[in-house]
Symmetry: C2
Subunit: 332 residues, 2 copies
Amino acid sequence: MQQAQTIPHDALVVGVDVGGTKIAAGVVDTQGNVHGRIKITTDTSTPERTLSSIAQGVRSAVQATGVTMEQVHAVGLGIPGMVDPAQGICQISVNLGWQNVEVRSWLERELQLPCAIENDVSAAALGESIYGVSKGLDNMVYLSLGTGIATRAIINGKLYRGAHGMAGEIGHASFNPTGPLCRCGGRGCLEALAAGPALALRAQDELRSGKSSLLRDLIGKQPLENLRSEDVFEAARKGDALATKILREAGQYLAYGIYLLSMSLDPQIVIIGGGLAVEGSPLIEAIHEGVTRWLENSPIFREMSGLNLLRLSSLQHDAGITGAAALITSAH
Amino acid sequence: MQQAQTIPHDALVVGVDVGGTKIAAGVVDTQGNVHGRIKITTDTSTPERTLSSIAQGVRSAVQATGVTMEQVHAVGLGIPGMVDPAQGICQISVNLGWQNVEVRSWLERELQLPCAIENDVSAAALGESIYGVSKGLDNMVYLSLGTGIATRAIINGKLYRGAHGMAGEIGHASFNPTGPLCRCGGRGCLEALAAGPALALRAQDELRSGKSSLLRDLIGKQPLENLRSEDVFEAARKGDALATKILREAGQYLAYGIYLLSMSLDPQIVIIGGGLAVEGSPLIEAIHEGVTRWLENSPIFREMSGLNLLRLSSLQHDAGITGAAALITSAH
């Protein structure tokens, strides 16, 4: 683990949350306030172009804040993939199409600023643990629920990486060996059962097999492939039986994952973040129902976790940006 | 976490592994050598009698080593249950029938020696990490497989307890919601599917339903209830189909547990210890087969864990005794 550098109290750091479709960045002060938030499209045509997108995102955030690059102390980045923070290398990123990309040295040369990199979910977990709902707690699990699914844990007050920086890749654990193929090559992985694209695919399949649903009205004359997880949420909110069933089943799988992680890690809380962590959404309701059922059925889970295990992220999209900045400003 | 006290290089500590049926104890030197190993029956009729059994075990080990109580520096104990090491209290132990027993103060008064307590599997994990196959590794999972099933992890070089000392109670995670009732009150827990007593119960049920098997010859005219897991192992070694099937199924469940723990914790190795961790046994073979199948099916698990994830305990029964002693002699 890298130690926090000694940095001035009023230092500004750019935090970057690199995604497969969008790059979000902001200038973060040492209190975790985010200034000049920007979002740009990720160019994933070549690794060099992706790195250029990132550099562009950093410059745009600095400009939007009304400061100069000279006033910025350093840059922290969360990257969707397997990352070696000590070497500054991303070993593999399916979303970015990267293999062994020397992220840190490239960006440090380009931006003339010190850079630090981490896995994106690790960065978001760090953000939540320093500035969010788990502030001050020593043991928590952060579940990122969106296009992908992964967890990262804060253990004994520190980000837990595991032997290969992969601790928490529960999104690629199979919960149904005869389930749908996952983009990782496995079958029935939690991500292939319950992440955003899985919900959309599941709904498309059900419509193709002739099921009636409000979803047909929502997509109208568009091809079925255009149906997105947002449509499934909207239909469920309007009481559609098929959409409700799809979200309930996904919620059950996610609840089982949370239950297993809790039995393994005995956290104080589990925070749900990411694009699908929306208060009052039918998926979040289904997760709550599922976890409640496990609490009822397992005396030991109940004794450990009590009834207040689950929390929604309070930082939402800023978890990734503030956590990336905290790679520079905190001992993690 | 308690810090290691400064103790002399030649100090002797008594390590005690308290079980529901037997208490094992030994005098341990600072190199982890065990002297004067003894094993006595646990009197669980009342908490006070159990504590007396433990004190008796300590005195017997000291006597067997040929030293005096005055030469002993302190006593460390591993207790099967939920333990608060800071308060010296066992909150609950199903095996011992304890609730909120003030273990440390009672034993310190009785033995006139400083005492430290921990959960028994935590102590064994600590023993393995200091003296066993995972010596020097920062991240490992220890799976105790015997009358009960539980895991404990060494994370970033330290014993990981979780928020309530329950991290690793995967033995009480349900892997089959319609499975057999577990003694914890849950249903289909890993322990109810794959621990020693579960294997025996499963075999008894199969024989009751009329299945033919070598097991019938092994128990002869005894009542079916006398059939033990040892009989299932013996029958499987002799090629019995029913016994082999029972162990293979249990091995599949255990392999799934190891796979899930590995995806959650990304350990360098997983050590299998406890009474059923016997080299070449059909259960261990089945676990290996099951884990190999998950490695084949999950590219991410393969990338993380490689092919040398599983190890058998090298310390066997001494893991608990040396780990209990290490509660005194190591910063853990």
